[in-house]
């Protein structure tokens, strides 16, 4: 029995879990409709058509089904399945209890769909019914069981990664374990990819959605991509979220795309398909719902300027709470309309900004590669631990929190304290040069608070 097989048996041997019939699952994936594979859509969509994917998860099967129905009516391209926060932290007991309360009382006691508790047999009915690709959104450091359940359900896009689903999503889950658990996920995805179209893996670029500079975002995207391709994944999406400055987004998209190709080639994985995903604004939203709609629409314009392959949407109700299915479907319809009428987009290139950002990314990547550990995941692990990678506003105890960023007059995110991150001196001087640093500390702290709320 292979190591993977052994691990698998331990994982599925869990009191909250369906009894897995792996032979049947293999059969199912092999014969599954191509339409369920987003990798198939990426390959065959018209060049400039951006796929539209909302977010959304409700506790009960009925409500999740109704949500999907609304999305399909609104002309969705990719259906979401967002998992609740208990499942994310493997707390299936609480999830079970809250699911029962939600079913009994017609009030939602969970902020997402508890996939493990529902199980793959039930969920697959919904997925195959709609015959649209489904994307799994979770935020789970140990997602092994979740991903087995997802793929068995017909969900062929898996978001996340050991860094992006840990640093923003956990306080003290052990980072080294996360790498190993995600290694398992990558292998499962790679294995299933051989049966039919590839399973697509997607990294979660938004991170904490709070003043993360593009260099950190890109480095983490590249590293998760490498860790995934290493294990044999053949279709991967790098992503990032709207940052607050249109130009910085365009530059970030260009550099990310260019360097993803470059580093994939370095490990001889140029045969893998690499896609670019853009998230509508992920930070603090305005309470005013009309304003929220303007913000969402602008995000769609920027996504087009960035030439994203997929856009992940928000709703007018973001600031108030889990959105209703109506509000959620409305965004999908609006986004599709907007993409249809956005024409004659100029091709924007900002060479200076691209150069600075490229230098920063290369420098951090080099520092990671230069770590003395034997495997890539250990190098990355060490780099986070010693602050070579540092994510602003991460709640995780391992994260250094020594990098400080603020916005310049154009609302570009700039690094004003680099901490241990090896930002080259020239770039560091450039970044600081854009900002007014003559202010005292109190007003800089006030600026940061203001910068978090720029869209409000």
């Amino acid at each position: 029995m292979s190591l993977l097989q052994e691990e698998r048996e331990i994982i599925v041997n869990n009191e909250y879990v369906d009894n897995f019939d792996f032979a049947e699952v293999k059969e199912f994936v092999t014969n599954a409709s191509k339409d369920l594979f987003i990798s198939h859509h990426f390959k065959n969509k018209p060049k400039n058509k951006m796929l539209v994917q909302p977010r959304g998860g409700f506790p009960t099967y009925e409500k999740q089904f109704a949500l999907s129905e609304y999305f399909v009516k609104a002309n969705v391209d990719v259906l979401p399945l967002t998992v609740d926060s208990n499942t994310r932290l493997n707390d299936y007991a609480t999830a079970k209890k809250m699911l029962r309360l939600s079913e009994e009382n017609d009030v939602d006691m969970l902020n997402g769909y508890p996939l493990v508790n529902h199980g793959y047999r039930t969920t697959r009915k919904m997925v195959t019914h709609f015959n649209k690709p489904v994307s799994l959104r979770h935020g789970t450091p140990d997602a092994r069981l979740l991903i087995e359940t997802a793929i068995a359900s017909g969900i062929f896009e898996i978001e996340g990664g050991p860094i992006t689903y840990l640093l923003p999503y956990s306080k003290n889950f052990p980072l080294d374990k996360a790498f190993l658990y995600w290694k398992y996920v990558e292998r499962v995805c790679a294995n299933y990819s051989k049966l039919n179209e590839p399973i697509n893996r997607e990294s979660f670029g938004p991170l904490t959605a709070t003043l993360v500079p593009p260099s950190i975002t890109i480095v983490i995207q590249l590293l998760e991509m490498l860790l995934s391709l290493e294990e044999g994944v053949k279709s991967f999406s790098v992503s990032f979220a709207q940052q607050g400055s249109m130009n910085q987004d365009i530059v970030t998209g260009a550099v990310l795309k260019k360097l993803a190709k470059h580093y994939a080639a370095e490990i001889n994985c140029s045969d893998a398909a690499i896609n670019l995903v853009y998230h509508q604004w992920m930070g603090a939203f305005p309470m005013n719902k009309d304003s929220a709609e303007q913000l969402i629409n602008i995000a769609t314009v920027i996504a087009s300027m960035v030439s994203a392959d997929k856009i992940i949407t928000k709703t007018r109700e973001e600031a108030s709470g889990i959105p209703t299915k109506e509000a959620n479907a409305k965004t999908v319809a609006n986004t599709q309309y907007t993409l249809g009428i956005l024409n004659g987009l100029p091709n924007v290139v900002d060479e200076e900004e691209e150069e600075i950002l490229t230098l920063e990314v290369h420098a951090i990547m080099e520092a990671v590669f230069n770590d003395s550990a034997d495997t890539l995941w250990r190098k990355v692990f060490n780099s986070i631990k010693n602050g070579i990678i540092d994510v602003p506003f991460s709640p995780h105890i391992i994260n250094h929190n020594n990098m400080i960023t603020i916005r310049d007059a154009q609302k570009n995110i700039r690094i004003i304290k680099r901490g241990n991150v090896p930002i080259p001196d020239r770039c560091y001087a450039y970044e600081k040069g854009q900002c007014d640093l003559t202010k005292d500390t109190t007003s800089i702290v006030n600026d940061i608070i203001h910068d978090i709320g720029i869209m409000q």
């Binding site: 926060s85 939602d108 709070t210 709470g321 702290v445």
Partner: protein
């Protein structure tokens, strides 16, 4: 005056928590910040341990309701928690709720001040008022 604060349950929204820490300190409190992903027991243990006067809980991701219901049962297990001022704020329901329904419910769970989608500074102002009313400040 001592405050224990943090974000309850499996909730990892840290941004407000960082700002709360700064604001409480700026207002002169001694702050024990347990951070995100803190369970109810940890809060009560910390109050006992530090001898805090105030327990200020945040919840953003919609879990508050589930945890709120546990408060009376759990609090009863601890002695000497009767005089503590209990405050909760953030986004206190899954989906959209309105304050008129929410506030009495959470008062029923034992919270003295309930701030559903209330700005931090407004919330902290009402804390000061209560402290004055109770002649604690």
């Amino acid at each position: 005056m001592k405050v224990v604060t943090g974000v309850v349950g499996n909730d990892i929204h840290v941004v407000a928590n960082r700002l709360i820490d700064l604001s409480l300190q700026a207002r002169g409190y001694e702050v024990f910040n347990l951070g995100v992903n803190t369970y109810l027991e940890e809060f009560f243990d910390a109050v006992v341990e530090t001898g805090a006067d105030i327990l200020l809980i945040s919840s953003l991701n919609g879990e508050a309701e589930g945890w709120g219901r546990e408060v009376p049962r759990l609090k009863a297990k601890y002695k000497k928690l009767d005089d503590i001022i209990m405050m909760i704020g953030g986004n206190l329901v899954v989906g959209t709720g309105n304050a008129e329904d929410i506030i009495p419910r959470y008062k029923g769970y034992g919270f003295d001040i309930v701030c559903h989608q209330v700005d931090l500074n407004t919330g902290l102002d009402s804390l000061e008022e209560m402290l004055k009313e109770r002649n604690l400040k």
